[in-house]
Structures are given as structure tokens and as C-alpha cells.
């Protein structure tokens, strides 16, 4: 039986008094699964991603990650959980005064890896995502697609248990987008659980993984989700 990696039980999220941005979200994701999170703009995809990545705290319900209820954990434990989650942001979130190489190396250096292994791991991955010739460039000199690839490389460099990607191929052409989805699939085969929020019908058609459909803050197909 597969281990449950993410479990939401009647989770709600309220930003202000006007109403819930997410309501009654209940689902489970098994370890090693691959899901798309779909839904129209403003439906709550990013909010749900932020809840899973522990960037937001739910206003009600129970969130379990890696088989543990996160609401009972202290600050340091939550930091430990976050280190197991890779996140690709819609707006890249690259550190502007660091090179592409240093941006990708950030999770490894935060983890305390030695510089020799950091260099070889980062170079290998940057070659793979097609940025071998751009390693020393600052983000401001990179195109949108190149920035996206740096952001993706940074999210996957330390082989996270759970990878969350918010519109990761939004700035990429279909060929590069497919190539990155293949990278995600390879990581998934190595055991990483993956959730990708996307609008891209092309990707949804090309990569037939189960979907979490969200609309107006509510999951349409909730329950156990496994690949």
C-alpha cells in the first residue's frame, strides 16, 4: 500500500472577512504520484499550492504532510518540511543579484553541501535544462523562458520528495515545455511526488496524468488521488 504524502481534510482558507478563498478541500496524494492541478484563473490554484507548500496556514480543517499533521508542528519542524518540498513559482522568484548558477545552487548551499559537489550537480542540471552557456548570467539578462528553466532547476536540484509547480511552462515554447515535463516525469520515476498547476491543454493532452480540478475555491473531483 502506498504511503500518503499529502492529505487535506475539510480545509478552508480565508484571506479576509469577505469569504473563503478555498473551502472544504479534501483530498489525498500518494507518494510517487503525478498530478495536474487545473482550473480557471482565480479559482484558487495558487492558494492551494501555497497551502500544500506551507507558505499559508489554513483557517480550518486538517493538513497532513508526510503523514504528520502540520498544524501541531513548531517553526523548526515546518522549516524541515519545507526543505522536502520543491517549488516552482509562477513569477520565477529568482534572486536578481545572483548568477543563474548561484540561484540553482541555493537549495544545496542552504542544505550545507560542499562546494565541489554543488558545482558538479548544478553544472550537470543546467546543461540538462539547456542553460549550460548561461550559468554566469544574472536573471535580468535571461529571457522569460530561460528564467523559468532556472527556477525549475532550482526546485529540483536537491531531489525534493514533493515538487509543486505553478504554471511552470507558462513562458516556454511547447518543445521546451515538453522537455521539462519529461524531466518532471523522470523525477517522478525516482520517487518524487509531483503537482503541477497548469492551464496548458497541450500538456494535459500530451501527458495523461490524473487531475485535481478546482473551481471557485472548491475541488470538483476530491478524494483519493493516485497515479
Amino acid at each position: 500500500m502506498k504511503k500518503t504524502l499529502v492529505e487535506f481534510d475539510h480545509v478552508g482558507l480565508r484571506y479576509n472577512a469577505s469569504g473563503e478563498a478555498l473551502s472544504d478541500i479534501t483530498f489525498r496524494l500518494d507518494e510517487g504520484s503525478f498530478h495536474f492541478l487545473t482550473g480557471p484563473s482565480g479559482s484558487g490554484k495558487t492558494s492551494l499550492m501555497n497551502l500544500i507548500s506551507l507558505r499559508l496556514k489554513p483557517t480550518r480543517g486538517i493538513v497532513k504532510l508526510f503523514d504528520e499533521i502540520v498544524q501541531t508542528k513548531d517553526v523548526d519542524d515546518l522549516a524541515g518540511f519545507r526543505r522536502k518540498i520543491g517549488m516552482v513559482f509562477q513569477d520565477f522568484r529568482l534572486v536578481e543579484h545572483l548568477s543563474a548558477f548561484d540561484n540553482v545552487a541555493l537549495p544545496l548551499r542552504l542544505r550545507g553541501d560542499n562546494e565541489k559537489s554543488v558545482k558538479s550537480d548544478v553544472r550537470e542540471l543546467m546543461q540538462w535544462v539547456g542553460l549550460g552557456d548561461h550559468m554566469d548570467q544574472r536573471p535580468e539578462t535571461l529571457s522569460g523562458g530561460q528564467k523559468q528553466r532556472v527556477a525549475i532547476a532550482r526546485a529540483v536540484i536537491d531531489r525534493p520528495k514533493l515538487l509543486l509547480a505553478d504554471e511552470p511552462t507558462g513562458n516556454l515554447d511547447d518543445v521546451i515545455g515538453e522537455r521539462l515535463l519529461l524531466l518532471f516525469e523522470q523525477l517522478n520515476k525516482l520517487g518524487t511526488t509531483i503537482v503541477i498547476a497548469t492551464h496548458s491543454q497541450h500538456l494535459l493532452d500530451r501527458f495523461p496524468h490524473p487531475r485535481l480540478n478546482i473551481s471557485r475555491g472548491t475541488l470538483i473531483n476530491s478524494g483519493v488521488m493516485s497515479s
Partner: protein
């Protein structure tokens, strides 16, 4: 800990960063000058005190009649005065000064000193038993015009002025450090504002609060130490140049660049840097909730 050159929390080299750097260098420069000045004044005052505070001079003015200088005072009379003084308790090393010695001593201060009516003078070292009032009372029986000058008394006004100047210099050092503290606090807030996205990113990657505080405080410490240290080096170079150029004005006597004083001046950049690190740590601790605690 990420090496500073790779640190996402090092400040980008913007004009605002350069202005902060220059301001901290200026504070380091001013703090160094004020501290060296205060230390030099203190040292000078101590030298004066050590050499003068036990020194007593007995002065018997020359008597003049009808604008004609009466030079009747002789070595015999000087010896007589010396003998009278030796009878007073609490005095050692009593030494009568010849007219030539007095003239030599006054030569730096008064022109054509040898044409003036010079007094009879006897110098001595006073112990704690010496009472100037009692001595004066005794001596005035034979020498009604005699005066006693105690080193401590003579130095009183000058010393008081020097000590006041030293106090002002120390006060300016404190003001400089407080200004540095206020600047560090402002810089810490500015830093949080400039780097909130990076802090949020690191937080979402699993960086702990302690890591963020330590790394930001360390980064601020190093940057302030470098800028204030530059100010210190400029101040020392400037003083050294002044020292070299001011041979004839005897500026060396101020002892402003002695080795121990220069070592003490190193305190300035370190104090400023420690204040910057503390201000950063406290600011982040207080503002942490507003920035990144939404998920906890």
C-alpha cells in the same frame, strides 16, 4: 552558512547601498578622529599632572624704586630665602634658581627677558604634608611680598579646560556611535524591505528563522565593519599626513597617533558593526511575523 559572495542576503550594489556605505565610512572617520582626540587630550593632561602637581615655586618679586630697577638681590639673599624655606615642613629637593636659569625658562614666553626685573625664585617638591597657607603665613614675617605657586593650582584652569575638551570629544564619540546605531536600525528596516522577497523565498525553501537572522546580521556586520573600517583607515592616514607636515608647529606633541591610541581607535568600526548586527537581528526578530510567519 552560505559564503558571503554567494549569499542571497548580501545587499545588491545599488546607489542606495553605496550611500549607506559612504555614510558608515564617514561615521567611522569621525568616530576615529573624536576618539583619538579624546585619548590624546587625556594623555596630555596626565603628563602635565604627573610633572606639575607636586611642583611648588616660591616667588619673591624684585623691589623697584623710582622706575629704576633695584638689582640688589644677590646669591646671598637667594641662599637666605632658601634657608628660610628649608625650615618649612613637607618640602623636598629645595632649589634656588639663578637669574640666568629664570631668564632661560622665560625666554620662550617673553622677549628681552634679561632686561626685565626678574624675581627670586626657589622651587621645591611638595609632599602631602605641605600646607601652602601655613608656609605663606610663616614666610611673610620676613618676606611680606612672597608668593607661592603650586603646580596643582597653576594647572587648575588649563587642566579643567583640557578635561572639558576631552569630555566633549568623548561625548562626540558617543553621539557618533548612537548615530551609527540609528543608521543601522534604519538600514535593517530598509534591508528587510529590499530583501523581503528573498527572505520569503529562503523561508519557503526551508531556511529557519535562526538561519535568516544569523545570515542577515552577519552580512550587516561584515558590510559595516568594512565601511567603518575604511573611515578609520582614512582618518589615520589623514592624521599621519598632518603629523608629517606639521613638524614646525609641534603638532607631534599632541601624541594623537600613538600606538596604543590607534589600537583603541579600532574599537570604533567594531562597535559600529556590532550595533549594526544587533539592530538587524532585533529588527528581523520583531518583523519576522509580518514577513514570513503566515504559514506557521
Amino acid at each position: 552558512m552560505i559564503h558571503s559572495k554567494h549569499s542571497p542576503l548580501s545587499l545588491p550594489q545599488t546607489p542606495a547601498f553605496r550611500a549607506l556605505w559612504a555614510s558608515q565610512a564617514l561615521l567611522g572617520f569621525m568616530g576615529t578622529l573624536f576618539l583619538l582626540f579624546a585619548l590624546a587630550l587625556g594623555a596630555r593632561a596626565n603628563v602635565w599632572l604627573a610633572s606639575m602637581q607636586n611642583h611648588v615655586i616660591f616667588e619673591l618679586p624684585i623691589e623697584t624704586t623710582n622706575e629704576k630697577i633695584d638689582l640688589s638681590f644677590s646669591n646671598v639673599e637667594l641662599k637666605k630665602l632658601e634657608q628660610s624655606i628649608k625650615k618649612i615642613d613637607g618640602l623636598n629637593n629645595i632649589n634656588g634658581l639663578s637669574q640666568d636659569t629664570i631668564a632661560d625658562r622665560l625666554d620662550h614666553w617673553i622677549n628681552n627677558v634679561k632686561d626685565l626685573p626678574l624675581p627670586l625664585m626657589v622651587e621645591a617638591e611638595a609632599s602631602d604634608d605641605f600646607k601652602a597657607k601655613d608656609a605663606l603665613k610663616t614666610l611673610r614675617n620676613d618676606y611680606p611680598n612672597i608668593a607661592i605657586h603650586e603646580g596643582r593650582e597653576a594647572m587648575k584652569d588649563g587642566l579643567s579646560q583640557v578635561l572639558t575638551l576631552r569630555l566633549i570629544a568623548y561625548f562626540l564619540v558617543i553621539v557618533t556611535i548612537l548615530a551609527g546605531g540609528a543608521m543601522s536600525l534604519t538600514a535593517a528596516y530598509w534591508r528587510l524591505d529590499v530583501q523581503k522577497d528573498v527572505i520569503d523565498l529562503l523561508h519557503s525553501m526551508g531556511a529557519t528563522k535562526r538561519y535568516l537572522i544569523t545570515d542577515l546580521a552577519r552580512s550587516n556586520f561584515i558590510q559595516t565593519l568594512a565601511s567603518a573600517g575604511t573611515g578609520l583607515i582614512i582618518a589615520i592616514i589623514l592624521l599621519a599626513i598632518m603629523w608629517l607636515l606639521s613638524g614646525e608647529t609641534r603638532a607631534q606633541d599632541i601624541e594623537i597617533l600613538s600606538q596604543s591610541h590607534t589600537l583603541w581607535a579600532l574599537v570604533i568600526p567594531f562597535v559600529l558593526a556590532i550595533m549594526a548586527a544587533l539592530a538587524t537581528a532585533v529588527t528581523i526578530k520583531m518583523r519576522y511575523t509580518a514577513f514570513i510567519k503566515r504559514g506557521e
